[in-house]
């Protein structure tokens, strides 16, 4: 019986990525980071309300996983979702306008930060109840299998969600029915303010599928190439009809759980060490420079482009009008 394939995949095979790939990862990760910084700023200005969970630090996870699938595959996650949407190719302006609650947002301002969707890009939310997206994503995979389609569903969950009972109900059915779903556990090491050590009886979350015979791997989630490599293994497993796969992506969020979280539950040294030694963007930057793929000036041009894209998104998000008051009563039911 297949159980845990390997404990760590922190050392990846070198030179797996082409120059173009590396440049693409750099740009995509930078876009997420700049987008999130801008979102934080707009939140500070009172333009974004409610909860706002930033993805800064975790960029390699979604960029690496997205590069392992095709645009036909599905993606679903919880509420720390801005990075996933940008990685799926959703428009930054549409995402930002949803954060500001405007008509131009992906849900026309009715969903907000935690509830955004794009059928066109196969992104199915954006769900606010911890763990709720796990059976839902399993159902998306059920649909692929039911229709005989060669598609997989990436179902993201955090290290906090792994303690929800419904996660295991979903694991069981996915394994029982051999559904093409990859459970991507983004272990950023804190379930809000509770560290993995304090909430999980075993720190090895990739083993959470052992009871169901679901293979699992632990991956360095700060290394986009390691994520992509593990992601490709998981996708191949699913496409061969072997059922679900678990990836535990060890990562780190630089910001608090949400905007109002001062993150007193961890030390400044811990955060600084991650930022200085394991930053996913700096890592790719170093590969680009050391490999003579691009020079500092070239990187600066990319930075400028990304910054311009984010500035445009922020402008759109502020200028787009609030939804028409008639929207209050639309989209409750579909006319039968």
């Amino acid at each position: 019986m297949a159980t845990t394939k390997r404990k760590r995949a922190t050392t990846r095979a070198d030179n797996q990525a082409s120059s173009d790939d590396l440049l693409k990862y750099y740009r995509e990760m930078l876009l997420i980071r700049r987008f999130e910084e801008k979102a934080g700023q707009l939140y500070g200005m009172g333009l974004i309300g409610g909860f706002c969970h930033l993805y800064i630090g975790q960029e390699a996870v979604v960029v690496g996983m997205q590069s392992a699938i095709t645009g036909d595959d599905g993606v679903i996650t919880s509420y720390r979702d801005h990075g996933h949407m940008l990685a799926c190719g959703m428009d930054a302006g549409g995402v930002m306008a949803e954060l500001t609650g405007r008509e131009g947002g992906y849900s026309r301002g009715k969903g907000g930060s935690m509830h955004m969707f794009s059928k066109e890009k196969n992104f199915y939310g954006g769900h606010g109840i911890v763990g709720g997206q796990v059976p839902l994503g399993t159902g998306i995979a059920f649909n692929y299998k039911y229709r005989g389609e060669d598609r997989v569903c990436l179902t993201y969950l955090g290290d906090g969600a792994v303690n929800q009972g419904q996660v295991y109900e979903a694991f069981n059915m996915a394994a029982l029915w051999q559904l093409p779903v990859i459970y991507c556990i983004e272990n950023n090491q804190y379930a809000m303010g509770t560290s993995t050590q304090r909430h999980s009886s075993s720190p090895d979350l990739y083993q959470r599928g052992v009871a169901y015979g679901i293979p699992g791997e632990q991956v360095d989630g700060m290394d986009v190439l390691a994520v992509k490599e593990a992601g490709e293994r998981a996708v191949a497993h699913c496409r061969e009809g072997k059922g679900p796969y678990i990836l535990e992506l060890k990562t780190y969020r630089y910001r608090g759980h949400s905007m109002s979280d001062p993150a007193k539950y961890r030390t400044k040294d811990e955060l600084d060490k991650m930022r200085k030694e394991h930053d996913p963007i700096d890592m790719v930057k170093k590969l680009l420079i050391d490999g003579n793929i691009i020079d500092e000036a070239g990187l600066k041009d990319i930075d400028k482009e990304v910054k311009a894209e984010v500035a445009k998104a922020a402008e759109f998000a502020q200028n787009s009008p609030e939804p028409d008051v008639s929207e209050l009563f639309t989209d409750i039911l579909i006319d039968a």
Partner: protein
């Protein structure tokens, strides 16, 4: 132009804070993500990160300053290529705006400047919402003219159980996307034999036995419905759906709205609801008012076999999430059902089961039978009762109820569930709002007693609303 660094809000309720510390000084070079300052609120100390890169041109608010308003300029950053002379134009205005406690006593003011679109539109939205809620007092109530039900000439006698099965089978034949999922629905042929024969005809791909895992399979089926499949989820009883209510409400009912209309959820949640017999408190409860409370759901509660068949077929065809509340005691009862492949009933339309002139009795599910028996007894005593079978709880057929009350001027509501915030409470309100002047007596509610369901036979009978309660209530509102 130098870049303004504004005092950030760290929560939607924060209006001002203390600038506790500057981590940079004028002339320092900074990059995006650098921690440049620390601010304190009454709840926490938070770091302020730079969003832009450049050189700290001017620190406008000194560290230690208290009551700095959100969105006040606290510093300027010079972009690449700018020198200090760029600050000349901005210093004066910034100085004036700085001590927020004086300059901006109303904490909302700076936000209004920073976000003209948002703040200007807000009052409109607020007043608009109020106007709309007046204009559409009950978006989920049906106030349209009631359509005449199609008449059928050929009938066959069927149990409710058979009618439900036929409805599923007919819809599954017509649409490959329809499938049934639940505990014991396939090989066991249904815990209450409602899905009998479906596995043989449709195979295990479309008649799926699940583990005992209610929240899991409810979420899974809901996810598949987002993708356009049409699951019929059978709960062995609705008591077990409490394990899954998060997905019924938070996922199935709300996603269409939250996605701005992108993701529909064509799903039917069905199974026996309400009291069975002698199974105690955890297996005997009516959930009608729980689900009917929620926008985004339709809630159906059939009584007869014809109701069951016509409404289940309509539910399966409907593009929305539907809670379909059956009743175990009704499963074995037989009724005449139209013998017609195209037989289907409209959702949202009540049926007058018996016409009368003195009092209106509104009921649903098993209580319809009790109401009809009560009407017989009342007739013997010279009271003509009109009995309305709601059939759909949400959207509620307000028209039919109101028209009847305008005729009889008296109303009794019946349900197995508890009275508090029950279906009867809603109907009483609706009648008060739309037909207050027509009422000749206060509305009477016949409900289950306000206790968990007891096991003992005598106590159970006392806890449930009986025919005699309806008779008594009808006589009371007729002052007889």
């Amino acid at each position: 132009m130098p870049i303004e660094v504004l005092m950030p809000a760290l929560s939607p309720t924060m209006t001002e804070g203390t600038l506790a510390k500057w981590n940079v000084k004028e002339g320092d070079t900074i990059a995006s993500g650098d921690v440049i300052a620390e601010i304190e609120t009454d709840k926490a100390t938070m770091e302020v990160e730079a969003v832009d890169e450049g050189t700290v041109g001017k620190i406008v608010i000194a560290e230690g300053t208290e009551n700095v308003a959100v969105n006040a300029v606290i510093a300027y950053i010079l972009e690449e290529g700018e020198d200090a002379s760029a600050l000349d134009n901005v210093s004066a205005s910034a100085g004036a705006a700085a001590p927020a406690a004086e300059a901006a006593p109303a904490p909302a003011a700076p936000a209004a400047e920073a976000a003209p679109a948002a703040s200007a539109a807000a009052p409109v939205a607020a007043s608009g919402a109020i106007e709309r809620s007046d204009a559409e007092p009950r978006a989920m109530s049906v106030m349209n003219a009631t359509q005449d039900e199609k008449t059928y000439t050929s009938f066959k006698t069927q149990t409710v159980r058979e009618a439900l099965r036929d409805a599923m089978a007919e819809e599954m034949r017509g649409d490959e996307n329809v499938f049934v999922m639940g505990e014991e629905v396939a090989q066991y042929q249904g815990a209450y034999k409602v899905t009998q024969g479906l596995l043989d005809e449709f195979g295990d791909k479309r008649v799926v036995d699940t583990p005992i895992t209610e929240i899991g399979f409810t979420g899974l089926a809901t996810g598949s419905a987002f993708m356009g499949l049409k699951p019929i989820v059978e709960f062995m009883t609705f008591n077990f759906a409490m394990q899954a209510i998060d997905h019924i409400i938070n996922s199935a009912a709300k996603t269409l709205y939250m996605s701005g209309g992108q993701l529909g959820c064509p799903i039917v949640f069905r199974g026996p609801n309400g009291a069975a017999a002698r199974v105690g408190a955890q297996h005997s409860q009516c959930y009608a008012s729980w689900y009917a409370h929620c926008p985004g759901l339709k809630v159906i509660a059939p009584w007869s076999a014809a109701d069951a068949k016509g409404l289940l077929k309509a539910a399966i065809r409907d593009p929305n999430p539907i809670v379909f509340l059956e009743n175990e005691i009704m499963y074995g009862q037989s009724f005449e059902v139209p013998d017609d492949e195209d037989f289907v009933l409209p959702i949202g339309q009540a049926k007058i089961e018996r016409e009368g002139t003195d009092v209106t009795i509104v009921a649903f599910s098993i209580m319809v039978g009790k109401a009809l028996k009560a009407a017989e007894k009342l007739a013997e005593q010279g009271i003509s009762a009109e009995v309305i079978n709601l059939r759909t709880i949400r959207p509620l057929d307000v028209n039919t109820i109101i028209r009847s009350v305008m005729k009889t001027n008296r109303l009794v509501t019946c349900e197995e569930g508890w009275h508090f915030a029950g279906i009867g409470s809603e109907i009483a309100s609706v009648v008060m709002e739309h037909a207050f002047d027509y009422l000749d007596a206060p509305v009477a509610r016949v409900t289950g007693e306000d206790v968990p369901m007891p096991y003992a036979a005598n106590l159970e009978a006392l806890a449930l609303p009986q025919e005699q309660h309806i008779v008594d209530a009808a006589k009371a509102v007729c002052y007889r």
